[in-house]
C-alpha cells in the first residue's frame, strides 16, 4: 500500500514492527524482501512518486572541503531514490577489499566477501544483471567469443562490469510495494528526528513532517535508516535531544570517514598499434543474451599486496583511430605526438611493420584502423580518513533542520597509489606490445583540480566490530542502540573501486534476512 502522508490527520501515531526510513535501493529492497511476512512495515519516503523541486531542495547543503558536486544534485529524493538516475554500473567488492590491509588505515570489514556472496547472487537478480562472474575471464571469453588482453606480468588484470538496465527501483518494484499487505509506504514523509530513550540506548519513535502538511509520529519495534551516506549521518547528528552528540555517536564517529571514488578524467592517454587486441568488450558495452558487460582493468591482488596499494579500476575510451588515409594527412599539433608514438610502435613491432589493417571482429576495430588513440577513465579507492566528514551546517532547510556540510578530503597516499597503478598499466601494456601510455598525473601527492567523485557516497556510519572504530556492527545495528539499523553505502568500511549499488543491495538483502530472524 502506498499513501500520501499529507492526507494523514495531524499528530497521527502509527505503530508498526519495522520502520524503514528512505525508499531508495536499500529501503525498497528490504521492504520487498519482507513483503508477505508477519512483519508490519512502514516505509517512509520524503518525496513523492515523481521529482518535486521543493522536496529535492531539502538535500541542499554546504561543501567545505575540496570541490564537490552541489549536494542537491547528487541524489534524487523521491520514491526509488537515486536509482531514478543511476547508470546501472554493477560490480561487487573484491575479497581483498574486505580484508585488513595494514597499509590502508582503518581497513578491514567485520565480514568477508564470502559472507556476502549469497547476497550478491540475489542482488544480481534484483538489479536485473547476469551471473555473478565478474572476474572470470575465461567465462566471458566464451560468452563474447572474443579474447581478452594477454596480460601476463601479474600487474593488472581484466575484470568486468555488468550493467543493470538500469533498474529504476521506484517504478520496477512499485507494484510489489503497493500489493504487499504488510507494507505501508508513506510518501512526502520526511523524518525530522529520531527519538531515543534518555540514555540513547533505544529508539522510541520518529518525528515526521510533511512540507505544508501535517506532522506525525511513527513508533516501531525496530528502525532501519536508509537515506544515503550524507543524509544518514545528518539525521543521526541532528537527533540530539537526548544525546547532545546525536544518536549512535558516543565515539564521535558519525559522519566521519566520508569516502568517494575519486575519478580523474583522462588519467592517462594510450596509443596502440594493435587495436584488434582491444576487443569490443573493452571499448563499449557488449550486449549478450542475459547480460550487458564491459571489460575493464584492475590491479592484481599481488600488486596491491606487494606494493601496498589501494584499489583502482580503469576503462578504455577510444578517442580516434589511425588509418592510412588520416596518417597521410597533416595532423593537428596536439595530435602529432600520439601519431609519433603510434609510428614508433608500428615500426618496432615485428607483426605490425606494415600498413595492412588488422583483421577485426565484432564492431571493433573499424575497417581500415591501423591503430587507436585512447584515454583511460578511472575510479580509485580513497582510504578511510576520519577528517573527511559530514557535519551539520548552521543553515536550515524548509523544515527547520540543519543542512548537511560536507568536507571531502583526499590524501597524498591515495594519489601516489593511483600514480603507481597507472604506471603498472603502462608497463604491462608496453611489455605485451599493446600500447604506450602517457600518464597524465603529476608524480607527487597532489590531486589535480579536475578530480571529481562518482556520486558514490560511502563510509559515514562505517561497519566495525568495535564501537571505537565504527558506527554499526556486522549486522548493521548501531553500536549501543538496541533497535536501530543502517542500510546503504554509509556502512561501507572501505570502498574498493566498485560502484556501490550492487553492494548496497546485497547488504540490504542480508539485513532483511537478519530482520526476519530477529522477528521470528
Amino acid at each position: 500500500m502506498i499513501e500520501d502522508a499529507r492526507r494523514l490527520p495531524e499528530d497521527t501515531l502509527i505503530e508498526t514492527d519495522l520502520a524503514i526510513i528512505g525508499a531508495g535501493a536499500a529501503g525498497i529492497t528490504i521492504a520487498r524482501e519482507l513483503a508477505g511476512t508477519d512483519i508490519q512495515i512502514c516505509l517512509l519516503e520524503s518525496g513523492g512518486l515523481e521529482f518535486e523541486q521543493d522536496t529535492q531542495n531539502l538535500y541542499t547543503g554546504e561543501n567545505d572541503g575540496r570541490w564537490y558536486f552541489p549536494l542537491d544534485k547528487c541524489r534524487l529524493r523521491y520514491f526509488g531514490g537515486s536509482t531514478n538516475h543511476w547508470g546501472g554500473w554493477c560490480r561487487p567488492l573484491t575479497p581483498i577489499d574486505f580484508e585488513v590491509r595494514d597499509w590502508v588505515p582503518y581497513s578491514g570489514w567485520p565480514i568477508t566477501r564470502a559472507d556476502l556472496d549469497p547476497y550478491y547472487e540475489r542482488a544480481q537478480t534484483v538489479t536485473e544483471t547476469g551471473p555473478l562472474r565478474y572476474d572470470a575471464t575465461a567465462f566471458w571469453e566464451e560468452q563474447t567469443g572474443a579474447k581478452m588482453l594477454p596480460l601476463s606480468l601479474g600487474l593488472i588484470t581484466t575484470t568486468f562490469f555488468q550493467y543493470s538496465p538500469p533498474t529504476r527501483f521506484g517504478t520496477r518494484y512499485r507494484k510489489d510495494i503497493e500489493q504487499a499487505a504488510n507494507v505501508r509506504a508513506l510518501l512526502h514523509a520526511t523524518v525530522t528526528e529520531i527519538e531515543t530513550s534518555e540514555t540513547g540506548a533505544e529508539v522510541t519513535g520518529l518525528r515526521i513532517a510533511t512540507l505544508g502538511g501535517p506532522s506525525f509520529r511513527v513508533r516501531a519495534r525496530r528502525y532501519i535508516l536508509a537515506t544515503g551516506a550524507i543524509e544518514n549521518p545528518r539525521l543521526l547528528l541532528l537527533s540530539n535531544r537526548a544525546q547532545p552528540a546525536g544518536v549512535g555517536n558516543t565515539h564521535d564517529l558519525v559522519g566521519r570517514f566520508f569516502m568517494e571514488h575519486p575519478h580523474v578524467p583522462g588519467v592517462a592517454g594510450m596509443v596502440t598499434s594493435r587495436p584488434e587486441a582491444f576487443n569490443t568488450a573493452y571499448t563499449q558495452h557488449l550486449s549478450l543474451a542475459d547480460s550487458i558487460v564491459h571489460a575493464a582493468l584492475i590491479p592484481t591482488d599481488a600488486l596491491l599486496r606487494r606494493e601496498r596499494l589501494q584499489q583502482a579500476v580503469f576503462t578504455i575510451g577510444v578517442m580516434g583511430v589511425f588509418t592510412a588515409e588520416n596518417l597521410a594527412s597533416a595532423a593537428p599539433a596536439d595530435q602529432q605526438r600520439a601519431r609519433d608514438i603510434f609510428n614508433l610502435q608500428r615500426d618496432l613491432d615485428p607483426a605490425r611493420a606494415t600498413d595492412h589493417p588488422p583483421a577485426g571482429y565484432n564492431d571493433w576495430p573499424p575497417a581500415g584502423a591501423l591503430g587507436a588513440n585512447c584515454t583511460f577513465g578511472c575510479a580509485c579507492e580513497q582510504a578511510p580518513n576520519p577528517d573527511s566528514r559530514v557535519t551539520l551546517s548552521d543553515e536550515r532547510d524548509a523544515l527547520g533542520l540543519p543542512r548537511a556540510r560536507l568536507d571531502w578530503r583526499l590524501s597524498e597516499a591515495d594519489k601516489l597509489s593511483l600514480n603507481r597503478i597507472v604506471r603498472a598499466v603502462a608497463e604491462e601494456f608496453g611489455a605485451q606490445s599493446l600500447g604506450r601510455v602517457r600518464p597524465a598525473l603529476s608524480d607527487d601527492g597532489n590531486w589535480p583540480g579536475e578530480t571529481i567523485g562518482g556520486y558514490h557516497h560511502m563510509g559515514t556510519t562505517r561497519m566495525a566490530d568495535s564501537p571505537d572504530l565504527g558506527v554499526v556492527d556486522a549486522n548493521c545495528r548501531v553500536h549501543g542502540v538496541a533497535n536501530l539499523y543502517i542500510a546503504g553505502s554509509s556502512v561501507f568500511t572501505t570502498g574498493g573501486a566498485s560502484n556501490p549499488t550492487l553492494t548496497i543491495v546485497a547488504l540490504a538483502l542480508r539485513l532483511a534476512d537478519h530482520m526476519r530472524i530477529q522477528s521470528s
Binding site: R339, D340, I341, L344, L348, A353, E427, G430, V437, P439
Partner: protein
C-alpha cells in the same frame, strides 16, 4: 659518417653504469661495425620524423647520451636475448631481438618518460639514435 668510439663515449657509458661497457665497450653485435649497426638500427624506424622528434626529447633530458656509438652500445647492452655472433640477417629478426629487449625494459621498469609518454629505454635510445644520425646528415633518412 664514421662513428668512432670516443673517450667521451667510454666515460658516458661508465657513468651510465653499463657493466658490459665497463668490461669493454662493444658494438651491438660482438662482431659488428658500429657505423653499420647504427644505420641498420635506425633504418628500422620507417617514420624517422616521428622517431627523431621523440629522440630529441630524450636527448634534451639525457644529453650525455648524445653519441651514436654510445647509444648503439647501450641498446645492445639492454637486458635481452643473448646476442648472436653476427647481425640478424633480416629486419624481422632484428625487430624481434629489439622487441625482446623492449619487453624486458618494461618488465624491469627500465623506462623513461618522453614528453610524458612512458617508453622503454631501448626504444627511446633508438629514437635518439635516429635524431643524432639525421642531425649528422641533414636531409638523409637515417
Amino acid at each position: 659518417m664514421s662513428l668512432r668510439v670516443s673517450r667521451r663515449t667510454v666515460l658516458a657509458a661508465l657513468a651510465a653504469g653499463i657493466v658490459g661497457a665497463a668490461i669493454g665497450l662493444r658494438r651491438y653485435w660482438p662482431g659488428g661495425d658500429v657505423t653499420r649497426d647504427a644505420r641498420r638500427l635506425a633504418a628500422l624506424l620507417r617514420h624517422p620524423d616521428s622517431a627523431a622528434w621523440l629522440g630529441r626529447f630524450y636527448l634534451e633530458v639525457n644529453p650525455r647520451e648524445a653519441d651514436a656509438a654510445l647509444l648503439v652500445t647501450l641498446i645492445g647492452a639492454a637486458r635481452g636475448p643473448a646476442l648472436p655472433p653476427a647481425s640478424p640477417s633480416t629486419d624481422e629478426a632484428l625487430r624481434a631481438d629489439l622487441e625482446e629487449r623492449i619487453r624486458n625494459d618494461f618488465i624491469y621498469s627500465n623506462t623513461v618518460e618522453v614528453d610524458g609518454w612512458l617508453l622503454s629505454l631501448t626504444e627511446a635510445r633508438l629514437c635518439a639514435l635516429v635524431s643524432l644520425l639525421r642531425d649528422a646528415s641533414p636531409g638523409i633518412d637515417a
